[in-house]
């Protein structure tokens, strides 16, 4: 038996985790191809270097930088997936999905259904977003609700490097189109490294902290803020259960319902604007399905209903704060 010479690092960040996941998937399946703007090494391996090294390792046939043509190359990814390739394409920033929405919602999402199951679209669209860096109204939005509102698409948003690896592996292996949301401001936060080949099943939430009094539900960035709020609340004797959805659509209702049935209270937290968001959907389902077990109305904590502003105080004011989460929790308890 040969010895393992290189000890894998104990901690990695999300950029490294996603890079590793794509590389491992490409190694395992030659149908996996990668394209997007500037993703090849000649162009720097991606503006955040998530795809660095892939074109050198797997060649220009499978890893290609594209022209600035989101409609063109996302549509090409749809076409390639119809005949069995597994494209992992990068739409640099989530706001840019607006210029290829037709390919995503009218085609990727619907071709399995409209073809009566004859074709399907095993496609991963990676995209990053998040306010906090002063990128303003067209480079920072969380737009997951657009996609969650379209049957046929799965929407994934990891909060840590190990989940990012495992969810990416599962997304690439999945037979349906997946929108994979990467949170820009926490890209470089290190976390425990995943085991090689670690898969996190799509549609399965994680209970990252058990508690008695209230269930806090989030995904992506908000999981970090929820955990910070939970630590503060603990000091006042309030015990929080924390759910990281990981997959936003389809929702893991069994996990959510079991937790809220136990605590009787829920707060949903997301960076996306408040109205018509994922929080509204989760809240509605809890009221519909758990009415008699709820001890208080479900609360939503989200960003203000306005475009993401530039000026630092405005940007901070636009985003919810950890305080807002604590206030929402205390509101559910006050109703007791």
């Amino acid at each position: 038996m040969s010895q393992t010479l290189v000890k894998p690092p104990a901690k990695i960040n999300t950029v490294q985790a996603i890079n590793l996941a794509i590389a491992d998937a490409m190694e395992a399946d030659e149908n996996v191809i990668v394209f997007g703007e500037d993703v090849a090494d000649l162009e720097g391996g991606g503006i955040v270097k998530v795809t660095q090294g892939l074109s050198t390792r797997f060649g220009g046939n499978r890893v290609r930088s594209t022209p600035i043509s989101e409609m063109g190359f996302v549509g090409a990814a749809v076409g390639a997936s119809l005949v069995g390739l597994r494209p992992v394409v990068e739409v640099m920033l989530m706001n840019f999905t607006a210029v290829c929405m037709d390919q995503i919602t009218n085609h990727a999402a619907k071709l399995r259904f409209m073809s009566g199951g004859q074709t399907h679209v095993p496609l991963v669209i990676r995209t990053m977003t998040g306010a906090g860096f002063g990128t303003g109204g067209q480079h920072s939005d969380f737009l997951e609700a657009w996609f969650c509102h379209t049957p046929g698409i799965k929407v994934v948003a990891p909060s840590n490097p190990a989940d990012a690896y495992g969810l990416m592996r599962a997304a690439i292996a999945d037979e349906d189109p997946v929108i994979f949301i990467e949170h820009l401001p926490t890209y470089w936060v290190a976390g425990p490294a995943p085991a090689p080949g670690h898969f996190v099943p799509l549609g399965k939430a994680a209970i990252v902290q058990e508690g008695r009094d209230v269930t806090l539900i989030g995904y992506s960035r908000s999981v970090h803020d929820i955990r910070a709020a939970a630590v503060n609340l603990e000091k006042s004797g309030i015990s929080c259960e924390v759910i990281d959805l990981r997959t936003i659509s389809p929702l893991d209702m069994p996990t959510i319902l079991a937790s809220v049935a136990k605590t009787g209270r829920a707060v949903v937290v997301h960076e996306a604007v408040r109205s018509f968001g994922a929080g509204a959907e989760i809240s509605a389902r809890l009221h519909e399905q758990l009415w008699t077990k709820l001890k208080a109305p479900v609360q939503r904590v989200a960003s203000k209903d306005c475009p993401v502003p530039f000026s630092k105080p405005l940007e901070t004011g636009f985003l919810y704060s950890v305080d807002d989460i604590e206030i929402a929790v205390r509101t559910t308890l006050a109703n007791a």
């Binding site: 191809i33 594209t66 409609m71 063109g72 390639a80 119809l82 390919q103 071709l111 009566g116 999945d174």
Partner: protein, 324 residues
Amino acid sequence: MPASQRVLVEIYRKMALIKHNDDRFISMIKAGRLTMPYYSARGQECIPAAISVLLTDRDYITTIYRGVHDMLAKGVPPKLLWAELAGRATGTCKGKGGPMHITHPESGCMVTTGIVGASMPIACGLGLAAQVRGEDRVVIANFGDGASNIGAFHESLNLAAVWKLPVIFVCQNNLFAEHTTLANGTAVQDISVRAAGYGIPGVTVDGNDPRAVYDAAQEAIRRARAGDGPSLLEAKTFRFNGHVFGDAGEYIPKDQYAAAVANDPYPRFRDALIAEDVATSAELDEIDALIETEINEAVTFAMDSPFPELSELGIDIYAPVGQA
């Protein structure tokens, strides 16, 4: 190589198949037996008929809501097409797609879209898959003149050119986009000149002349198979039945319509084959009769088929659990 006599007769057979099916679709809609939005391609049958004889089952096409002619030419079985248009469970797509969304991978019909222009990026992806895997396949991307004004067209030509994809962009220029004339909606008279902006060959041919379409398509397909990249082929033609069934076509100038009818590709080609001794009128009649029988069978099959079960509403949205 010019089309052989055998190929010319095969092109005629496909044109007749398209024309007779179209006639029957319209009579069935008029009789109230079919209810669907129908975008007749009567008048455009020569284009896919002459191109498809150059393709194999391995080659792909993408088409649009006005695409029944493209599908029949590529080999979608009429009875499956009829059943789909009648919304039956036995249709190509179990009745879940309908006239604007036919898919039939067995014959290479990979996508039909109701979104103007959207099938062109998808055609690029089909070509990309063939290129990545080193497979000998070409893609015919069909679209209308109006679609050459939407962004997807331009992004696709550029992407296909940059990556040298084996895609032939076939613009079936019927001179109208809904009710808007070519001149009022398109800045150029010939769509083919747009190819120059992407550094690829662009040619315009008489889309009612099977030999002209065949020759131009042959060169474009040769280029694509040789790895030399995409081409833009514009076939000028006309649609006789307006934009969609029920469109009375008041916006079409009377003399333009009369001139188009005088240039109807179906009788024109039939007469030419007889005049040039390629086939006798009796031989062509025999072809027509076989097609009539096939259509009768297709209509019976479709109308006797059941509608889909309501449970289909919950199927084919995601992969069946356990498969993903």
